[in-house]
Symmetry: C2
Subunit: 139 residues, 2 copies
């Protein structure tokens, strides 16, 4: 049913998509687990754990901006590559009004990912600081 | 150009959309500022500030689930109501593959909003706790 044109295999630790890179491939996870994370000032902020059936890369495909986050296999992973020419032809048929809606959705997702990752890194730093502070209080 | 079928006016403090309610109207901010927030265990977590040109309601329109967050006018606000029947007719023309992509985008946005709001509330609580702790240390 789904227009899968290729299959890719990754092992635990392999990078599936790289934050900041350009690329508009759309991947469907066929098996395994992918950890989605952003680098925030040198610190990794995990923002999602994706499993079978999840799609990777839909945001950059739609807004043509760099990958918002990295995806790393945390088990053996099999990926189906979705036929983007087929989807592109559908996007080209879209009305201005509908593309507005789609772009609004994409922009909101990108902004929310940015803010979530930044807050996650800040929160981790704060927790570490408190951890250090309470250890320092001990004799 | 945009298919606006109605206009609505709100004053500062008015609720534009209510978290948890059902409704698939799509709004375009024509003027003014709307604060988007979620209620997390009785605490308000502000997740976005939207201005002129931003769209409100696109997520619930697409996934037909309750509003993920509330929108409250924080100034005089003028809203354009977008013709959803027109957009609906486009969604109906979409292929299965494209609707998969659109739903993946919507699902990712909803999940990220949930997690961002929850973390924001937790972070605020932690900051308050530290604030109280450091005040308590003072003689």
């Amino acid at each position: 049913m789904r227009k899968i044109v290729d299959k890719l295999k990754f092992s635990a630790g392999d990078l599936v998509v790289k934050e900041g890179s350009f690329g508009d491939s759309i991947y469907l996870i066929l098996s395994g687990t992918v950890e989605i994370s952003k680098n925030v000032k040198g610190k990794k902020a995990v923002i999602a754990i994706l499993e079978k059936g999840a799609i990777i890369g839909e945001l950059s495909f739609i807004d043509k901006k760099p990958r918002p986050a990295s995806g790393r296999a945390i088990s053996d992973v099999e990926i189906g590559v979705i036929d983007k020419e087929f989807i592109d032809s559908e996007i080209n048929k879209m009305s201005y009004e509908f593309s507005l809606l789609l772009n609004a959705l994409a922009e909101r997702l990108r902004t929310t990912i940015e803010e979530y990752a930044a807050l996650k890194a800040e929160h981790e730093r704060l927790k570490e600081k408190i951890g250090i502070a309470s250890r320092a209080e001990k004799p």
